[in-house]
Symmetry: C2
Subunit: 394 residues, 2 copies
């Protein structure tokens, strides 16, 4: 390249997997690859009504510039409604509106991480967060997981050995990519360790409200007495992703820094989109809407797990997610999931090879399957096709 760029530019690499996954957008493909919500569930009628009302009664304000921290009634209803559901007692002063929780991840990294810092996360973790951290050439301290999420004894050992680690990134509910959920006991201990080691925790929670079994888990933030936890929320899975509206809930000292970052990054989120979400939360029934989503996704998860049981080789391991969008499949160590994807694409079925979710690489024998975005018949058909491809390897 002829341009003299910043050092960080060398971390921005095209990925083979990303190129392969572009193929999955063709309509003939049954894709378990993305993390997309089911568009047939978007509340289009409610959104049409709200938009008409906003444009008719306050169109000029809704299309004008607005405050960087976000629309106050939206920040209020998030504090009083969504954060309360997560057992977090907070106010609008501790909320900033972000362009999805992805922007929250980016802002946390910008505010906290110097080049070469240590970052703690689950092993595996969300690829979109790993890509953010990679821009800072961080050193990862990945913590192994079991069916109760990040193993906190391992976290404790890691913190004792690396008290200079800069941040802990975690997805406690229906984790991406594994679908696993952190137990309440571990959440408490994680919050205690954060306070003890004075290390900020990024609690990324885009899926926590999509619960198939049991109650809403209290957020790690609910056990955080001293402001070490930064909670990242999103409406992409409970309302719709197209508006790009999420939020952060954090100590007000941090919020004021995030506001300055947002001012430089993009001034503010869409004014009208913030009003739409605020009025949807306030005037419509989001909780019954979420119940609808849960009903559909739970059924799709069941169909996928049934299909795996029926059509995948017998000795294969997979997670049973109690909510969210993903299940996680472990293959024999000698199978390379990227090769499997090439074969699967020949049968018009797709998934994400799991290697890219491991911050330090390796682990090529996993795959992530999404069940939220395909219709029931496609899930049944696609899992059977994938099973047939897999059986050639066993």
């Amino acid at each position: 390249m002829k341009y003299k760029l910043a050092n960080r530019a060398s971390t921005l690499k095209a990925s083979e997997i990303r190129e392969l996954l572009k193929l999955t957008e063709q309509p003939e493909i049954i894709s378990f690859a993305g993390g997309l919500p089911a568009p047939e569930l978007f509340p289009v009628q409610d959104i049409t009504e709200l938009t008409m009302r906003i444009l008719a009664t306050e169109g000029r304000q809704a299309l004008q510039y607005s405050t960087t921290e976000g629309y106050l009634p939206l920040r209020e209803v998030i504090a009083n409604q969504r954060m309360k559901l997560a057992s977090v007692d907070t106010t609008s002063d501790n909320i900033i509106i972000t362009a999805g929780s992805q922007q929250g991840i980016d802002f946390c990294a910008r505010l906290i991480i110097n080049d070469g810092d240590y970052v703690i996360c689950e092993d595996p973790s969300y690829m979109g967060a790993i890509n953010v951290f990679n821009m800072y050439n961080v050193n990862y301290l990945p913590i192994p997981m079991d069916d109760e999420g990040m193993i906190i004894d391992e976290l404790e050992k890691t913190l004792a050995k690396h008290p200079d680690a800069k941040v802990i990134y975690t997805i406690p509910d229906f984790q991406n990519p594994t679908g696993r959920t952190m137990s309440i006991e571990r959440r408490k201990r994680l919050a205690e360790l954060a306070a003890k080691y004075q290390i900020p925790v990024m609690e990324d929670n885009p899926y926590g409200e999509l619960i198939f079994e049991g109650d809403r888990n209290p957020a790690i933030k609910s056990f955080d007495a001293d402001g070490w936890v930064i909670y990242l929320g999103s409406f992409s899975k409970t309302f719709c992703p197209g508006y790009r509206i999420g939020w952060m809930c954090a100590d007000s000292e941090l919020i004021s820094k995030f506001v300055m970052l947002k001012q430089s990054a993009d001034l503010q989120c869409s004014t009208i989109a913030q009003r739409e979400v605020a009025y949807y939360l306030r005037d419509m029934n989001i909780d019954s809407h979420i119940k609808e989503i849960i009903k559909v996704y739970k059924n799709r998860r069941d169909l996928m797990l049934d299909g795996i049981k029926k059509h995948f080789p017998n000795n294969i391991k997979y997670t049973i997610p109690a909510g969210g969008l993903f299940t996680w499949v472990e293959l024999k160590p000698e199978i390379h999931a990227a090769d499997l994807l090439v074969e699967a694409l020949k049968e018009n079925v797709a998934f994400v090879p799991g290697g890219a979710f491991f911050p330090n690489g390796g682990n090529t024998n996993y795959l992530r399957l999404n069940y939220s975005n395909m219709t029931e018949d496609k899930i049944v058909e696609g899992v059977e096709r994938l099973g047939n491809v897999l059986k050639r390897y066993y």
Copy 2:
């Protein structure tokens, strides 16, 4: 602060001016401080029609996730329509959609600038760009201006002395804050110097279509044969700012890096907003809409300049902008514009003290006046009030 943050966090400082300017949001204040377009000109009726059509015919796609580089029909119409108006011959492959041109500034800085790099810009320049560059602790090489914009002989001297300078940031049309426009001859020379010194140019152009006198100037990018110029565009002043839709036009090697940055920063811009803007450009008449805006703003500029002539001290200097949103006033060197603002606020009139626009500080005897956002009677009244305050100093 108890948190161990990144080094760059120390550059995020609350500003006294920003605090003062918060006062200007009260309704009794006649404010020449912001850079807001006139909301009474927003095409609310057209937007209502378009939104209804989109939600009725393609609502589910418009609310779903979409591609990071942006909606293809929007990128196409920008290339074929807006870039053509700026005399730039390009295609959708060279366009990425950004959250306003502010995000374009941020992405350029992230891609190009290492800590401590030299940055060349006009003296004074846009505060929102200076805030972005400050995060990298850059060293500024500010180039003086005259009525034809950045003085290119001075730029040439600076480049000869600092061939390692990393980027040139410029606002060639109706510059913020001065309202000045770079001559065509200088645009050519700037493009030549960029190629000679192999230095990228950020051509920030949010105002170029709001022309009171003369024709649209060819963009610096139109003289750029080798891909050194990154053009930053915006719909905030020609359509409405609430949607946060802008774009970058650049060499495709750079575009592919910007796409990776966008993926990490916020995944994508609002799906529905991109469709609204695309269909507005394609199916409605943006050019006659812009003519309406120009008519109103030109009249407001005239009222402001008339008021300055009538009510400001005789020997005061100010620019006569041929387009855009701002005029720029130079006071006696001993007057501190921030003190003047305190006095002006007592008379319920506001402006931005000019010091904050100078990357290396100083120059406290300037003020920026916006004429796009206040109604005609308020402009007449406000300029008279400000003149009365000013006269106390002369």
